[in-house]
Symmetry: C2
Subunit: 369 residues, 2 copies
């Protein structure tokens, strides 16, 4: 089948680019002396996850219990659920844990530790747990070095049913950066936050086997990671317009696009059949370019189109404005590089895998929670 | 099953509120002397569509070919595809058309008319077509009263395989309004655009059986619609925070909420397990309140929570800030009234239907294109 035969809207993944991206990150991890435990939440596709773990130990990171189930069924044996646990889901998590070689959970509160320890004790199970650390992003995690953080680490260390696996952080504020130099500062902040905290805990006699960091921006620029044992980037497998804008990758590394058709052509604008349900309403790298719009317009052959901007999205309409609108007519097809591949891929039940103008495969992302 | 037993994140629909909303719009349509052809794109659920058409002729509006298929299979016999046609999908549309009592398509270009007429002629079929009119929204549609618009209406009227059904518009710029008074102005603009254009065409001897208008805001405030034959609101079945903010409805009319769990509790913030994949990244009614955030926080029992704001969404994390954060702990549950129900419902494969604290049903929205 040819790309030209695909009905729109459709999400396309360039297989060669994914192969390059995953190979490159695997090589980086080896060079940095760390294990790669890639996040799979961006794509939720077993086929991409297999490329991501090639040449490493096979561990992955997921963002939902449903993903953990999905990838466990597909044969992945070592999984970290990279979001602090939801207490009501503990029975499901323990069930999955019993079926895997390793299922690592995240906590950052006394309540979560107590609930998890109690459930594990009652089920006569051992559960592997990371203490989630906030390295300055300001989302989840304990503040490293504080009394509270230390107390939680001790509680994890001392519990008979918990295997305290280590400390873990995510430098999500790297997405606020404007360029690689700024990202490098965040990468070092991310590293230091957990490496120093691990040292502090070890000095108190608490073993800390793992020191885990990672976001795609920080892991694309980090030049050395002393003290870190594993990294967890994910978006890098396909990248997107945001990653290009802040310097994580080059435009030619981006493996994702949405194929669309012109359904309205007017003197000053076009309407495409890809709206908010095909692209997501992610505003993109507005801190780099306030007028970035909802995606970058490309020809069907993936050449950049100058003079057109995707300025508006309603449910099933994409509104494109600019002088070049007059060069297109109803029925023409083009592609959109999405702002945020994680949210765009979640819009589709089927991912079309392409190699040049050929469709070579079709993948089904996991859905739900 | 109780709401308290649902795992999160989950989308809940209050059945009683949907019944009230759908009944009220059906009554309004009768009072206005127009047929109600509700849009079903907000929810894509057969069960809600059936409530919407009760006490009217049974026609609906859909936004994708997949929805047309889905609702055709469910027994709906009169469907309008409310988006200008994509030329490559014409064979599928003609196939659906052959299976329904009526399947109305939208065009606003010569190319679409020519392609549709050719395909219909080759298949020896008749196809029902509306001319899409722009009433000031600036998205799709011809400008009424222009030579081009008139020429397209004549082409539709004269084609032997096309049944020119009438003129159709959508006052989507009603969403830019701040209150009901402003919406009323748009409602009149929406009405006049198509009623005057229909009169102009009729004066030239072109029959215009249908004059179709509608958005939820305009149809919630319009007090009379002379010349209009049918209305196509959709969001009103469940409403959302946006509709409340601009005055389309009262807060107690909103039938949708997302149930979430606190997975992180800190001195200054909470983290919920509903992120961008459970709510969408719709920024909401920022023109009414620039600090509206990504949804309105409610207790699990649906009482408003003061002093908390849902300021950030990443893929699976919702970040809540405010003084009231200290009143919550890990494991607590609350609900979020989403900014935009159409995009939020598309995040879920299953809709939990509730009546007070009881789960009374489960519905499956249509997906894809």
């Amino acid at each position: 089948m040819q790309v030209a035969e695909i009905t729109t809207p459709a999400v396309l993944i360039d297989r060669g680019r994914v192969e390059n991206n995953t190979h490159e990150m695997a090589r980086r991890a080896h060079r940095l002396g760390v294990r790669l435990r890639p996040h799979v939440k961006t794509h939720k596709c077993v086929e991409i996850a297999r490329m991501q773990v090639a040449d490493h130990f096979g561990g992955i990171t997921v963002s939902t219990v449903a993903e953990a189930e999905h990838f466990a069924v597909a044969g992945f044996r070592d999984i970290t659920l990279g979001v602090p646990i939801s207490l009501a889901r503990i029975p499901q998590m323990l069930d999955i844990s019993g079926r895997l070689d390793a299922f690592h959970l995240l906590v950052d509160s006394r309540r979560a530790i107590d609930a998890l320890a109690l459930a594990a004790r009652q089920g006569n199970q051992f559960v592997s747990v990371f203490l989630k650390v906030d390295c300055g992003y300001g989302r989840a995690g304990v503040v490293p070095g504080t009394e509270e953080a230390e107390a939680l680490a001790i509680a994890l260390h001392e519990d008979a049913n918990i295997d305290f696996r280590g400390v873990l952080t995510h430098g999500g504020h790297s997405y606020d950066c404007l360029n690689r130099e700024e990202i490098r500062v965040i990468a070092e902040q991310e590293r230091v936050a957990v490496v120093d905290f691990a040292a502090l805990l070890r000095a108190k006699g608490i073993p800390v086997p793992e020191v885990s960091v990672g976001s795609t921006p920080t892991m694309c620029v980090a030049e050395n990671l002393p003290g870190v044992t594993e990294i967890r980037p994910g978006n890098y497998a396909v990248f997107d317009r945001f990653q290009t804008a802040i310097g994580s990758c080059s435009p030619e590394d981006v493996a994702i696009s949405v194929l669309a058709t012109v359904i309205g052509a007017y003197s000053d604008r076009l309407i495409l059949d890809c709206g908010a349900l095909a692209l997501s309403k992610d505003p993109g790298p507005t801190h780099v370019d306030p007028h970035c719009g909802f995606g970058q317009l490309m020809t069907e052959d993936m050449l950049p189109i100058e003079g057109l901007s995707l300025t508006g999205l309603s449910q099933e309409h994409g509104k494109v404005v600019g002088a070049a609108a007059k060069n297109f007519q109803v029925g023409d097809r083009l592609r959109v590089i999405p702002n945020h591949s994680c949210l765009t891929l979640a819009c589709f039940d089927e991912v079309r895998v392409v190699d040049g103008s050929m469709v070579v495969d079709s993948w089904s992302p996991c859905r739900g929670w």
